[in-house]
Amino acid sequence: MPALGSFTLLATFLVASYALAASIAGGRRRSRALIESGVGAFYMTAALMAVASGIIIHAFVTDNYAIKYVQHYSDAAQPLAYKITSYWGGLDGSIMFWVLLLSVFGTIAVASNRERHRELIPWVVAIMAATEMFFIFIMVVHNNPFSTFVASAPAEGKGLNPLLQNFYMAIHPPSLYTGFVAMTIPYAFGMAALITGHLDDAWLRAVRRWTMIGWLFLTFGLTLGMLWAYEELGWGGFWGWDPVENAGLLPWFTATAFLHSVMVQERRGMLRVWNVTLVITTFFLTIFGTFMTRSGVVQSVHAFGEDRWLAGLFSGFMIVLLTFSFGYVIYRLPLLKSRHELDSWVSREAAFLANNWILLFSAFFILFATMFPTLSEAVRGQRLTVGPPFFNQWMRPIGLVLLILTGIAPLLAWKKSSAANLVYQFTWPVAMTMVTAAGVWALGIRVWSSGICFAFCAFVGTTILQEFIRGAAVRKGASGSDYFTALVGLVSRQQRRYGGYIVHVGIVLMFLGFAGQGYKSEQDMKLSPGEQGSVAGFTVRQDSISVTSDDQKQMITGHVTVFRNGKEIARMTPARWFFAKHESQPTTEVAIRRAPGEDVYIVLAAYDIGTQNATYAVTVNPLVNWIWLGFGILAIGTGIALLPERAFAFAASRVPEGAVTTTLVLLLLLLPGAAQGQTVIQKDALRKQIEGDLMCTCGGCLAPMNNCPMAGACHGLKEQREKVDRLIEQGMNREQIKAAFVREHGGVDVLTAPPDEGFNRLAWALPYVAGATGAALAGLVAYRWTRRPAEPDAPVAANADAPAEDALAARLDDELRDLD
């Protein structure tokens, strides 16, 4: 098997080089046959990479420890899901995963743009094939995931680190990779446009969508990273400006900049050099990020292995990439001339320009600060580092300026805003900002950055609301429909614009969460049983400490009760888990009580089982959940902007009346079916499980039922066992029995382990709830539209009898004509 894998990689390399050669030759000679052949070869790399991935996954699933990579990152006891995700758990596999994604995305992009951008295709294929070749080359000569042990293979695997055996860690890296890899496609199209000289705006249309997809995945990956850090690492925060995190943030900034400046090019024919540059920079930063985290150039607390050879390879690739790309930009400068000049600084394009500069500055600032230790060592021979305070000092004002621009830009008109227009647009938002600022001051928040952030959030929120309300009002007047239909019509006519606004709402919510970090409170408290400590209005009482174990690990769990204003609000169970094989590195299991206002976040820092004393690090994190909710909204907004342009129209014209209702009913019918599909556990096994789940309530032993030290003589235990048997006889399942005990006992501390936090992860559910709401809304829309099939899509400008709305109407009309 490993030999087959290595062979497949080699074959992919050959096929990719053929795709490169055939495409270049075909592109230069304009030979249809050669181009087609190159495209076919490129499709084949995707197939071959799928085979190679199949082989490595097979090796993981069948525990083939003859392969070094498999032995290193998995063991037999690992759940199946983590065996599969171990595929991208290490350096070699992650590179292979990268190539797989690129070949698949490339195939989709080529297949969908083949007819529309025929002249670009050979060069697009050539660029992507060359990138693939670089990564396959690394694998073949240096990091082959299929390399085997020369001598006899070990019988056991080392196992994936327990910290990484976690839901978020399983999906966070692939999400980031997806974002990274998707950025290759805009680059390939951009370079193809530069090479062929077809620099009209056609290539932009092909890449806009891919940039959006990449951007969405990057954002998703970054958010998951934050969630993981917040829930698993136990330091109470979510972003530590670690080089590895920064690597993911860099291309995010430039991609965001591109998504904005691309509009200026489409509308006004400006910023053409700038856009090409941004596409190249974004791609470069994805490669650079990979380089930074894999080669050991930057010292990080994540001990990435130092690897001079890999660093050299990557440096070479990056130098070639920059020379080649910017060489072509300079060569094509005459073709990239702007069609217009900036008319006024009080215009939307100027605001976009400012936003672009700031985003680009952020990217380079973070790059500089991340590389600072390396730079200073090279220049002064001493390794100077800058910490999170330095980053925060800079990024706080930068973030605030970006936030306010998010509000200002949509209020300005293209070309030039008149004074009357400014007054009309800014009155309400500025008023709301003042009110919020006063309110924040009155509430006693004295952290300047948080206060300003709240005020700015109000500003941006009001501008977006205003856009929706005014737009819908104009449309309602024109079409004579009701308000809701007008709103939907508005969004469906200009998905990109209104989708973008919804993305901005998500960003505003995220900023609320960031602002909350400005005034979080932390307190370490050492408590004996019954003793209380308090922080930020919350009181924590230590109850007990229990020791339990299951197949994989031993668990030390602290049981505390949290009060607010004298009322009990939660029982929480922070814990430490000692996994077998990794005893020296217990994992911190944070207990979080989530609420929209603030999270109570408790870490078991130290404990003494004998005296039942414990030390807790308690953090009160205000507004943190809005970050995760914000991402959910942002994803919906991006989804709307990404919808094919005729999606809404299609829904309106083709879906027969009643279809939506039927679908919904069907879905509802299916749901319980899925829920009932749970496995039935045998009674004896069930009893055993439950004895591990429940604490012995005899009062003295503080052990689970199956481990009671007084088992022989323990009276309470016998009764408890009988009760469990009775409940099993009644046909209850594990969860129901646990619930029954919790009810009777009056608290979750009867359980050996805290109830599975997975169900309590409010933050996680929120995006789904939001998504479901969105889907329901879409259904409602489709339904309503089917009732009004003859609704005319008349231009809105006809609205002459409302002079107050003139300016807006003209603007709307202008944009309706131009944008879609």
Binding site: G89, K158, L384, V386
Partner: protein
Amino acid sequence: MKTKAIKIAVTCVVLAAALGGLMYTTLQGGTEYYIHVDEVMQNPSAWQDKRLQLHGFVADLRQRPNSLEYKFDVQYNGKVIPARYTGVVPDTFKNASEVVLKGKLQDGGFSVEPNGVMAKCPSKYNPQTAAGS
């Protein structure tokens, strides 16, 4: 056209100067020396009272009973600095573990600032760091 070019150039210079100046002043306050124990011990007085990130391995870790006060030694290449810290430590902080400590070198040894203990994260990519390399 010429005046425009001059205007742009002046704006750029002013902006660059302002940003550069700001960067310089903030860097003054924000930097820490990243250094290994043996490098400090070559000339300890030179490093006195500077903000350091001290890299080394933990040894002789003691905790005052019923408290969060820790005393320990940091060693690297045979050189040792005594250190003290009060607060919550990461899971991976124990004898022989590799750490980076933020703090200042004072008369009585190295005093670690609150939350200044960074134990090396177990990484996906290289779970076993070669100790002491």
